[in-house]
Amino acid sequence: MNAPMSATPPLAKKLRVATTSLAGCFGCHMSLLDIDERILKLLELVEFDRSPLTDIKHCGPCDLGLIEGGLCNAENVHVLREFRSHCKILVAVGACAINGGLPAQRNHLDLRDVLEEVYQTEYLTSHGGIPNDPELPLPLNKVHPIHEVVKVDYFLPGCPPPADAIWKLLTDLLAGRTPTLGHGLLHYD
């Protein structure tokens, strides 16, 4: 005999969601806002922890973390690890989180040459030398996608992912379905 189906919805409490942008342009966050009035529906289902939308500075225990952007400096690594250790599900959102994206196009250059070119070349205005303030995070030798440093559970490609794709991913996850994207929603550009 099968147990009788529960009549109550599976989610009694709101899912807690954190979002951040590492080496990204916030375009993915803008695309999230492009879900338009569906954001009201979303707010019935989730509450936001650390996110540019809340201004909470550190991530608490969350059900879902959305990461935009890749890793280009030490701070990105710290934030990513904070998310990974606090989020049950971690999603790489957008091209930069997934393969480094635009920032990774510096990877064929030597970082030392880049710093020299930017901070020590005559025709540029900054003559202050390469910044060495301990407050500033040091850049990594190369830019990396986030799956090279932490386990990532789901990937949502796109530059940015279309709002409908973000909505589809969120509603799939909220409903307990493995997220899938059909033609038109799965895009790398």
């Binding site: 690594v77 710290h78 390469i130 990396h144 932490v150």
Partner: protein, 599 residues
């Protein structure tokens, strides 16, 4: 003589024939040191090939230099057996003495020091090539002398002759190595019997290829014989595969040193059976030093009436030419070897068609291993019934094993098929053995509980390598060495092998640097499953074998290196800040990152 004259002389010698491009490039480089852009342009124009194809070939082979190389080019054999004999410390010492980074030419253009795949001296390492001449038995003392000779620019030809001595180290002889055939005896018997009956004897003897795959030699010869030649120059060809590149194998080197006549005679018998007038011996570039002695042996056979026209006063006509490879393991694959013989990069062909119907110059071609051809002489002389008495029912005859690694008497051992691994270990004086790599990296790694298995096609087929590892050895490092080998030797044609061998190498390095996790081990299994089925040729299909075998049989060797059970970063996070630290001069706490598992 100007460079152009030098190149033209080489081109003339090869009749400006593009299919001889690999030989043209090799001979040109031997004289000019490297293959300059203008050299390639000149050669392309002379042979009438697009320049891009000439540079495509030149850039495929490890031994061709399209950038200036040092006047002394030192390449250390880097098989696991060389490592076990301490080549790592010797390479470091050499670089230190010469103020060099491995792989870089010194600023004065004097010397470069690098590694190369196994040079076939596993029983007398550590070995190296200096300007493509084989040197064996390297030691700290010899190293010091060598550095001195390089510094004072003494030509390699004037170096102590005993450095270049290569020993046969034949430890056990059976019917092949103990043969008492006079040159021409086997061929006379074959001529007497005629091609059809000789073929029948080969088939009845159930001779199978000794290069590893074990295809029935009689069937191969018959298919070649029955395939018609085509086009304006219809012909049949015999190719002897002496591209002995499988790490840990060196029995063909010994056969070509001590039994060259038998090998050439086997080629002639194959020629008689398939109806070929020409045979080609493809000799690996590492065995360049054998070229002159082999040419002398061919000349002797010609003057004895054993090669050329009217052989042994019959109407049989056959001659043999030697082609040298240039540092590409993949050319041991028969269709890649044929591509190389035709002057192209050694890229395995799409099969079918097989070489027996469309091989060298698109003509029916039989490609056979050195040892197979030598064994054919025994069958031609003594008959199938006699030969089939040796070995087992399914594996007739004998097998030459190249024994190396942890044992008292490395060298060549010939056994009737069916010998157990344990017997070989006892005979060569191996003790406390934990594993034997049978047939090289692409073969099988057998652990101690399998030592009663037998060397035979029905149990452990082998191309000949028998590398022994005693219980002090780290089987993970063995597999990692092989992973590097395959990544270096992948031809790059198909996706799963080109990228997969590099992914496997990188994952093994990650585990070696204590950054691995169980996720990485799962990835290795996944890549094995993909590469084994989807690769274009045997190299990719077997490239994960050593990783797969050691993961199954020596898993703790991997596990004790794993950082943690958690997901681990792909790279060293703290090292990834090194350039920024250098440029900013910072070394505060925030200028460092903890690596995974420590956080």
């Amino acid at each position: 003589m100007s460079d152009t004259d030098t190149i033209d002389a080489v081109l003339e010698r090869h009749r400006r024939d593009g299919t001889r491009l690999v030989q043209i490039l090799r001979e040109t480089q031997e004289q000019l040191g490297w293959l300059a852009p203008a050299t390639l342009t000149h050669i392309a124009a002379a042979i009438g090939w697009p320049r891009a194809e000439v540079s495509g070939t030149a850039s495929f082979y490890s031994f061709f230099h399209t950038r200036p190389r040092g006047r002394y080019c030192v390449l250390w054999s880097d098989n696991i057996t060389d490592r076990m004999l301490g080549n790592g410390e010797l390479i470091d010492a050499m670089c230190k003495k010469l103020w060099l980074e491995p792989g870089r030419v010194s600023e004065d253009g004097l010397v470069s020091v690098n590694t190369t795949s196994c040079t076939g001296m596993g029983d007398q390492g550590p070995a190296l090539l200096v300007n493509y001449r084989a040197v064996t038995g390297m030691s700290q003392a010899r190293l010091g002398e060598m550095v001195g000779l390089i510094r004072s620019e003494v030509p390699v030809a004037e170096w102590p002759a005993d450095w270049f001595a290569v020993a046969d180290n034949i430890r056990r002889k059976d019917i092949l190595l103990a043969h008492d055939l006079a040159p021409g005896q086997a061929l006379a018997a074959a001529l007497e019997r005629g091609p059809e009956q000789t073929l029948a004897e080969i088939k009845d003897a159930r001779l199978r290829g000794r290069g590893g795959a074990g295809f029935a030699t009689g069937l191969k010869w018959e298919a070649c014989r029955n395939a018609p030649g085509s086009g304006s120059n219809p012909a049949h060809y015999v190719v002897c595969n002496a591209d002995e590149g499988e790490p840990g194998t060196f029995k063909d080197r010994v056969l070509l040193t001590s039994c060259a006549d038998l090998v050439f005679e086997g080629m002639s018998i194959a020629g008689l059976v398939v109806g070929a007038k020409k045979g080609l011996l493809y000799l690996r570039g590492e065995y360049r030093y054998l070229l002159e002695p082999l040419e002398l042996a061919l000349a002797a056979r010609r003057s004895a009436g054993l090669l050329g026209g009217n052989i042994l006063d019959s109407d049989f006509e056959f001659d043999i030419e030697i082609h040298l490879g240039a540092g590409a393991y993949i050319c041991g694959e028969e269709s890649a070897l044929i591509e190389s013989l035709e002057g192209k990069p050694g890229r395995p062909r799409i099969r079918p068609p097989f070489p027996v119907t469309r091989g060298y110059l698109d003509q029916p071609t039989t490609v056979n291993n050195v040892e197979t051809l030598a064994a054919a002489c025994l069958i031609a002389t003594h008959g199938a019934a006699w030969y089939a008495q040796h070995g087992t029912e399914k594996s007739t005859g004998t097998k030459l094993l190249s024994v190396s690694g942890d044992c008292e008497r490395p060298g060549i051992y010939e056994y009737p098929y069916g010998v157990t691994v344990r017997q070989v270990l006892e005979d060569c004086g191996a003790s406390d053995s934990q594993a034997v790599q049978i047939s090289g990296p692409s073969g099988v790694c057998v652990a101690e509980d399998e030592f009663s298995r037998r060397i035979a096609f029905e149990d452990l087929p082998t191309a000949g390598a028998f590398m022994i590892f005693d219980e002090t050895r780290d089987m993970f490092e063995v597999a990692r060495n092989f992973a590097h080998f395959f990544a270096h030797e992948s031809c790059g044609f198909c996706t799963p092998c080109r990228v997969g061998t590099t992914l496997v190498r990188n994952m093994m390095d990650k585990i070696a640097q204590s950054h691995g996790s169980p996720y990485d081990i799962d990835e290795l299994f996944k890549l094995h499953r993909l590469m084994q089925g989807a690769s274009h040729c045997g190299l990719g299909n077997s490239a994960c074998n050593p990783v797969f075998d050691t993961l199954n049989k020596f898993r703790p060797a991997y596990e004790r290196r794993l950082k943690s059970l958690d997901y681990e970063p792909a790279f060293d996070l703290d090292a990834a800040l090194s350039q920024a630290r250098q440029m900013t001069g910072r070394d505060d706490a925030a200028a460092h990152l903890q690596n995974g598992g420590e956080a």
